[in-house]
Subunit: 244 residues, 4 copies
């Protein structure tokens, strides 16, 4: 049983909806996951059991500790990579929502020497660029997965104070101070990747310059407030289908 499950029912529905929102917008497919810090227990977080994102319901949510292990001993099987979430919540008290995805247009930026920065105001959270985590640097040849605390901590270390981190040969993470802002960032990071790829194509070798650091800092504010009408739309679309 999740702590305060009855009172948190609307929150669990939002988290399950977030999973389906990301699937509906092509950020996740059969893989990827989204979590939120427990509203009443900042030392815990909420994440679906191992399940394709488009199939998650509120009843699939499991409560985890910051060690990445389920609180209840009889919890259903979790994602192999739940340590992505636990390590980021442990390292970053300001973060309350984390998305891990293989959103396809971002993956190339983890393989080439081209900055992944903000092409437009909705991607302002990329103002300072995004670091890239190379798992081989600390762990040699692996299956690329963040399957324990040591790897999760290394990823969180590379994320540092950024909100997005590329993962070489794998995917990316997007974080935010709320579940809704993390989802927004995961969606617009992928949009921004497509835009930058087209801009580089057009530029023909000339550099492509996006928002200045100052512009990005200013633009992040409205994204967090007025920008939430995107969430309102996406949440509405899921409710129309699921009833919750």
């Amino acid at each position: 049983m999740i702590t305060n499950a009855v009172q948190l029912r609307p929150v669990l529905a939002d988290l399950a909806a977030a999973s389906r929102i990301l699937a509906a917008r092509g950020v996740v497919d059969g893989f990827g996951h989204v979590s939120m810090r427990h509203p009443d227990r900042p030392d815990r977080f909420l994440l679906s059991r191992s399940l394709a994102p488009a199939m998650v319901t509120p009843d699939d949510i499991v409560e985890y500790g910051l060690d990445g292990e389920a609180i209840e001993t009889d919890a259903p099987k979790g994602f192999l990579e739940r340590y992505i979430h636990s390590s980021i919540y442990a390292a970053r008290p300001d973060i309350a929502g984390v998305v891990h995805s293989h959103s396809p247009s971002m993956i190339p930026f983890g393989l080439v020497d081209v900055p992944f920065d903000a092409m437009f105001h909705n991607a302002a959270f990329l103002g300072g660029g995004a670091p890239c985590f190379d798992i081989a640097e600390g762990f040699g040849a692996t299956d690329m997965l963040i399957c324990d605390c040591a790897k999760g901590d290394a990823l969180a270390g590379r994320l540092g104070s950024h909100d997005v981190c590329l993962m070489r040969g794998h995917g990316s993470v997007a974080c935010g101070p709320t579940l809704q802002i993390a989802v927004f960032r995961a969606v617009y990071a992928e949009v921004n990747a497509r835009i930058k790829t087209q801009a580089v194509t057009l530029a023909g070798g000339a550099p492509v310059v996006g928002l200045s650091v100052g512009e990005a800092a200013f633009a992040d504010g409205p994204n967090r407030t007025a920008g939430m009408r995107a969430w309102d739309l996406w949440r509405h679309e899921i409710r129309e289908v699921t009833g919750w």
Copy 2:
């Protein structure tokens, strides 16, 4: 109450449908907005309250003055960027429809030194190319938004006598002598951006030349007349879903 609301009911339905048409065709997502000049009060315009475009209904339309402020004191919350519309209607008596979007394939053209001109006859309104508004030139580092009359006027100034204006690091505007033509232009500006990006890719450094200025001038005519069967299709698709 909108001036002459009862008589204008079909017009308000068209404007709400325009919003959904643009969402259905990927020109707008959770953001973006479309307005029309008030048919009986050329010093006023009609625009949805702040709402995701796919959710707009005729009851969400609000009447605004050319200062960008709602006529009624108890009007619902408006878009931060309604000044895009007010300033263009004030500066351009020939324009009766305005679309603001972040349509993704146009954004790169605001970041690189490649002309955004007409690749085919449906984009004839781009015959003379499209200017790019850089908000930093007049306002330094900002949140990129057109959130007051001064910024709206600067954008309208850069638009000049064109029908489309790119906005660096933000999006674009597309305008027309009717709501329907403005929607048509917003849709085909995005299509044209994808086509030009592919043409530049194929050209491999050679210049890509689209319609001549003369061709564009001739081709704009049929777009405004026979071209309206695209609107008829799009309007029909919305009516099938909404009933209005």
Copy 3:
């Protein structure tokens, strides 16, 4: 009344379905049209009245002469560009189906100096490449439309013995010995354009060589026979929705 309309009812349904098939597969949007030679009157052809392709029904089909004019004096308004069809049927007795579209990935090939040839066997009809019609060569600055017999004849002349012709700054035509093969070619010409654009991107300046002329000649055969199971699928999908 169309000649032999009662007996031709299934044929008219196929032609209306062809229009919707092309819309469903992104070859046509609000614009574009598909025709077939009249089965019993080779000096006439069948084409929808002026209407968005996705909305065409069997009752919208009109009978035309090879001068591009409707046989019946009270026929509904036709497409401005019906002369594309009439001129090709007049010049090419072997052709019984014609598609005109602005399918977006083909348009760049009319603007650059890159051959539009067959990248794979389903595009074998492009084996000899495709010519490009430049309306300005014979007619100077125009609205780009094929709006009379002279322009239609010039286009048919440029098509020559090919089955596909690019139209600079406009779109393309795809033809075949049956309606079904013409639709197949319009669909796979667009697919082939996307594939060639990606191949050119990957090649980084090296030439991209598709099917040899001999391979293309051989491969066109199975497309016309076994390849018709694509039509069977597409026709089935339309019937599921329309009932005809």
Copy 4:
């Protein structure tokens, strides 16, 4: 009658669903096919009769021998290219699922001199790259189809011990130790092709390096186990529509 048809009913449903899964995800269109080795008769395999993949039902499955001929003399018409499957099953006892498709983003890699290797962990089966079969090397100018045992054997020879083989001017094959893994690989090979094309675009001439051979070997494991939740999602989506 398929050997052990009654007991195999769920297996036949999975195979028919695999066909629809590949259609739903854009790997196959009107063309392409997926087969599995007969679970009880390793010298036979199961494949739909000649039919568009999106229309296949369990009743359309036919049993074939490793010579590519139907076991039953009155079997319905089969695919011209069923020899792709028979030759691979004959040559590779470790393979129990084969997909042949024209998935569009892979075709360019058969036409250019760019390695098709794993950009991310879900494409780990491409760790050693993928060979390209050029039918002209052994057979001269043909219709490009694998329409007999000799051509099937030549393709299987080029596949060697790989799991994916490109086919110049045609398409590709993806194989696996189970039907489900073969489908997974066909889907992610296409995703990987799009990602590599974007990476090459961004790299601007610099080489793009994906997973190391060691990483790919490690990463293939979880794809075969935890990765099956993608199949679970896809299978669920088909069942929702078909009831089987």
